[in-house]
């Protein structure tokens, strides 16, 4: 099984790569000891989004399904978490049920929507615009729910202002449970991200991952090799969308609110931009690139959110026109090629240079 951590679908192999990854992980673990809690919380906030980027990487990068609906499942799970937590009286029971319920909601919605699209042979550009339409409709609908009649049990949807009043995720424990916030939130997210990253790497290099890549390259050929193409597409769509749902639950837990604006435009464009910029075919590039973009975006947003968004849009255009494979992946390839050359020529022939 562990063998699958390295393979044709993932960049990076050998002691150098894993050593570097280990150093990064250790640095991330040590970070809260040196930084002030506000920055730690901020970093934890960035990690929230990476799950949905990894999900998009799996379905778009590996399998060629460009879904604009990541924030649809993000929102569905986020609202689902809120409704369940509030109606079950919060605390460990409510929030844990909310976590599970939110993820199940996202997965079931993805299975239903995916079934109709994939078995209706919607693909290519239409897949993108149908998922986007559904996403914008959800945002529009939630924006209309300001009145008191829009409540599920005790949970008010609250229109544009969004839903509030849910607790952060709380693990069962003494004194009403262990609340997932600040430094603990940060550590749990690092752990979750590391586990998700490694599992997805193994999945990408497994037989399942091979079939996904085959479908991306030539779906008809894959079908004639005996693969039930549409079942694989549906499976990866559910997987990727559920990861978006996980981001939604974590986001709602982190800020204890969720609004329609985290579903509609421009929020819906963000996952696409992160993943395209990073290099959609590779999980490592997506992980690194998404984090860097979030960091950069956050720093710019302080001055002007609109300008930051203009830059993000321009970045997407530049990526597509000039580096279609993605910036981070391009740099990663370059590093790999340099490392390879150095291995091949252990010592530059200094004498010959004169």
């Amino acid at each position: 099984m562990l063998k699958l951590l390295e393979g044709p679908q993932t960049m990076g192999r050998g002691p150098a790569f894993w050593g570097a990854a280990g150093v990064v992980l250790l640095a991330a673990l040590a970070y809260p000891m040196f930084a002030d809690p506000y920055d730690v919380g901020n970093f934890g906030y960035f990690f929230v989004w990476i799950f949905m980027a990894l999900g998009l990487c799996m379905m778009w990068g590996l399998c060629g399904m460009l879904s604009f609906g990541q924030t649809f499942f993000f929102g569905l799970a986020g609202y689902g978490y809120g409704v369940i937590a509030i109606d079950l009286g919060n605390g460990p029971l409510g929030t844990m049920a909310g976590l599970v319920g939110g993820l199940v909601l996202a997965a079931v919605a993805a299975a239903v929507l995916g079934y109709f699209m994939i078995y209706g042979r919607i693909n290519g550009v239409f897949f993108g615009i149908v998922t986007l339409s559904v996403t914008l409709a959800l945002a529009y609908f939630l924006g209309q729910t300001a009145g008191p009649e829009w409540a599920i049990g005790k949970a008010r949807l609250n229109g544009f202002n969004g839903m509030q009043g849910m607790d952060p995720l709380t693990f069962p424990g003494p004194d009403g449970g262990i609340v997932l916030e600040e430094t603990l939130f940060y550590y749990v997210l690092i752990l979750g991200l590391a586990v998700a990253y490694l599992l997805l790497r193994m999945l990408a290099n497994s037989r399942f991952g091979n079939v996904l890549v085959a479908i991306r390259e030539d779906a008809e050929r894959a079908e004639l090799l005996g693969y039930d193409v549409r079942r694989y597409q549906l499976a990866v769509f559910v997987l990727g969308s559920t990861l978006a749902g996980l981001s939604g639950v974590l986001y709602t837990s982190w800020g204890q609110f969720i609004t329609p604006s985290s579903i509609g435009l421009p929020a819906a464009s963000m996952p696409i931009i992160w993943v395209a910029f990073s290099g959609r075919t590779d999980l490592t590039a997506t992980l690194v690139g998404t984090f860097l973009l979030l960091l950069g975006f956050q720093s710019l947003t302080i001055y002007s959110q609109e300008t930051a968004l203009v830059l993000m849009g321009a970045l997407l255009m530049a990526t597509v026109l000039f580096v279609p494979r993605g910036f981070v992946l391009g740099i990663g390839d370059l590093l790999a090629r340099l490392a390879m050359r150095r291995r091949r020529e252990p010592r530059p022939a200094a004498a010959a240079e004169v």
Partner: protein, 288 residues
């Protein structure tokens, strides 16, 4: 009685006009080039803003609307040459590039123009049928939608450009070998598509409040109409708009706007399950 009947027709005509006008430009570009222009909403917005600006500068409304349309057409032509042409063989990438553009334009307008812009009052007033009063301008919009369909019919079936365009659509390589300049056909098609989006914006400018993100209130309807319709405007967009308008009008009347919007989308998802190539594919198969 007559008033009620006319009210039903009026509701239908209003939705139908909105679907046709917002989708025609998108459908032409998709049908010709297989490209979905994600900045479609921004071309609509461009039409709205140029119309409003020219109107405030003193032009009469119809002339201002012509300006809105023309500017969108010209920008479309330029854009095609600069960002779409390098991506002819990569339709998914042209979708991404236009999406990036949409983000740049929306947010850029927010920065440069601000979040509001003075609007235009709806002209022409109202008229009475039975016990109800109706807006005359909505009837103009309905007529304009029919006019757009007529224009598309004329353009593609009765002009030299139309013959060349259809040749390129059938077989780009062969058309080029016969001396059709594919790039020019594509540029013009994209321009016409963008111009129709601008025209849509110009027409709706007097009916809406002007905000830079207003494009997004057009795109869901235009997307679903094109998805259900397929690649042809006349055989796809028009019948799709009729079907969707009937569904939407019924749902609106009985259950309200919100259910209308959601019901429309559910209907779309059910329809694509049974009509894989949309109305275009279905009608072409039936008549083959």
């Amino acid at each position: 009685m007559l008033g009620n009947l006319f009210a039903g027709f009026y509701q239908f005509a209003d939705v139908f006009a909105f679907l046709v006008l917002s989708a025609a430009g998108l459908a032409i570009i998709f049908g010709m080039m297989g490209v979905i222009n994600m900045a479609h909403g921004e071309f609509v917005m461009c039409g709205v803003y140029v119309t409003a600006a020219s109107y405030h500068a003193g032009l009469p409304l119809p002339l201002a609307q012509a300006c809105g349309t023309a500017v969108a057409f010209l920008i479309g032509m330029v854009l095609e040459a600069v960002v779409i042409r390098p991506l002819y063989t990569r339709p998914l990438d042209s979708l991404l590039v236009t999406w990036g553009l949409s983000l740049v334009v929306t947010q850029g307008t927010l920065v440069l123009v601000g979040s509001t812009f003075p609007g235009i009052g709806t002209p022409l007033g109202g008229f009475r049928v039975g016990d109800y009063t109706f807006s005359a301008y909505r009837m103009v919009l309905f007529a304009a939608a029919i006019g757009v369909l007529g224009f598309v019919w004329f353009l593609f079936l009765r002009t030299r450009f139309g013959i060349q365009a259809r040749a390129v659509m059938q077989n780009p390589g062969m058309a080029q070998a016969l001396g059709v300049r594919r790039n020019r056909v594509y540029a013009l098609s994209f321009g016409v598509g963008a111009g129709l989006a601008g025209f849509c914006g110009a027409l709706y400018a007097p009916t809406m409040s002007l905000i830079p993100t207003m494009g997004s209130s057009f795109i869901v309807e235009s997307f679903v109409t094109v998805v259900v319709g397929g690649s042809s405007v006349l055989l796809g967009t028009a019948p799709a708009a009729v079907a969707l308008a009937v569904i939407r009008t019924g749902l609106n009347a009985w259950y309200g706007q919100i259910i209308g919007q959601i019901g429309l989308l559910v209907a779309v998802i059910l329809i694509i399950r049974v009509l894989p190539d949309g109305f275009t594919g279905w009608l072409t198969r039936r008549t083959a």
